[in-house]
């Protein structure tokens, strides 16, 4: 085995994976180190990617282009729309105001860009949700409850029974979320059915989540299994031994000190 960058990468991956898994024993220095490296690397990654993929093409480039075109005589102009790049100065100004948050004295000016963001997001969410989650969902609940066009029951397709379940569910859950009327009499029964539907929804959500979480663990184990090949010098196995030895040594040192470690 020769140490190529690829093999080195496998070793680093295997070590970091096992360092995080060492948390399963307890919070320990190896895990803490890996966790802090993770926070650092993800922050650096985010910074670079935000600049290179968002700020550079959408802010810096249009401004540069506009500045270049302003200096050129009209005949040489390639892009007649380049001057519109100057509009981005507004965004730049608001962005700089946002950065003022770092200053204790001028922090309040960051309220302006924040107000701008909140206004835009509130408007978009309001209209988007009213359309997709309110109007469309209510419309889709207007299903036939009688009639000979539909079968009485089908496992997947719309059927009379399924439509009744759907309609009763939506009605009862909506009634459950009534706040200005006391839940008694028929309302109480409806709200009880509503909780039943909610619990079925949460239960199935839970069942699905188990699927998700186990899949991720399987993915990691599959990777570790691949890292343990001969080609890579049995990276996973060696790293596992190192991490375990470290944990044992750390635990012994703590015991000898006589003080139960604080965290």
């Amino acid at each position: 085995m020769s140490l190529t960058p690829e093999i080195l990468g496998v070793w680093v991956s295997a070590f970091l994976t096992l360092a995080i898994f060492s948390f399963l024993y307890k919070d320990n220095p190896v895990y803490k180190f890996a966790e802090h490296v993770f926070v650092g690397v993800s922050a650096g990654y985010l910074l670079i990617l935000t600049y290179s993929d968002t700020l550079a093409p959408n802010l810096v480039q249009p401004l540069i282009k506009a500045a270049q075109h302003a200096g050129l005589p009209a005949a040489q102009e390639v892009d007649p729309q380049a001057w519109t790049g100057w509009f981005r100065l507004g965004a730049l100004a608001l962005g700089i105001l946002m950065l003022m948050r770092l200053s204790p004295k001028w922090g309040w000016v960051s309220r302006w860009p924040l107000a701008f963001l909140i206004g835009t997001y509130a408007a978009l969410r309001m209209t988007g949700l009213a359309q997709a989650d309110l109007v469309m969902q209510v419309n889709a609940t207007m299903v036939p409850l009688f009639g000979k066009d539909l079968p009485r029951f089908h496992w997947q397709d719309p059927s009379i029974l399924n439509n009744w379940v759907l309609v009763i569910g939506v009605f009862s859950v909506l009634i459950y979320f009534f706040f200005s009327l006391e839940q008694k009499g028929p309302l109480k029964h409806a709200a009880f059915i509503g909780t039943f539907f909610l619990m079925v929804a949460f239960g199935s959500s839970f069942g699905y989540t188990v699927l998700a979480r186990i899949s991720l663990l399987i993915g990691r184990v599959q990777d570790l299994y691949e890292f343990a090949e001969r080609r890579t010098g049995y990276a996973s196995i060696v790293c596992a031994v190192v991490v375990i030895l470290f944990l044992v040594a750390w635990e012994l040192r703590n015991r000898r000190k006589g003080s139960p470690e604080t965290e």
Binding site: V12, S13, L16, T17, F21, L24, H36, V37, F38, V39, G40, G44, Y45, I48, S52, L55, N58, R88, A91, L94, M98, L99, R101, L102, G107, S110, R111, W112, A115, F116, I118, G119, T120, A122, M126, T127, L129, L134, Q137, Q156, N162, L166, I168, G169, V173, F197, L198, M199, V200, A201, G203, S204, F206, G207, Y208, V210, R213, I214, L216, L217
Partner: protein, 212 residues
Amino acid sequence: MLRDKAPVWITFIVGAFMVSKFFLNVPQVTKVAGELEQWCLIIVGISIVLGVVNILRVNLKVVANRGRDWGYKLALIVSMLGMTAVGIVELIVRKSIAGESVFQYLYRNVYTPLSATMFSLLAFFIASAAFRAFRARNFRAAVLLVAGAIVMIGRVPLGATIHPILPKLADWIMAYPNAAGQRGMVIGAALGVVATGLRVIFGIERPYLRGN
């Protein structure tokens, strides 16, 4: 005035304009709204930078004062600056961070395993939660458990192998009772969002005015 009233007006004007864009078919409105959307992308981008700078600031303080766990914080700062430096060099030299590069190498071999493993720890938490928390304490919890168990069995191929009705039943639960419950919540939440959106746009509620 500038501190308190200006933000409320900015929210109102921008919000009302974006709402009207949704309903109007005027090219000028669409164009201005398009530019404002660009601004939003850029401001969000810059505020991401702000968050990162804040991490740096908080941790540098700890390291400078030799506070608790300062060694780890130093590792954090070093890895953050290292990643940033690599990215800057790539951007200057190659004009791009895509393709085969040191930046992508670090993404693949440091960021990917850390991030994926962090998330996979959840599997153990769900196992311990299954043992300790998921108990049929009352009728509601019992319904939750039974529905969850049926879906868990029905969603994996072993369930279909045991009995072909299991995946069908799981799917029926998902497609009708679950969808009905979800839809009730979705409609309710949409009403909540419309209410909050209106309150924010009309300046009745302005929590962003608190703090610096």
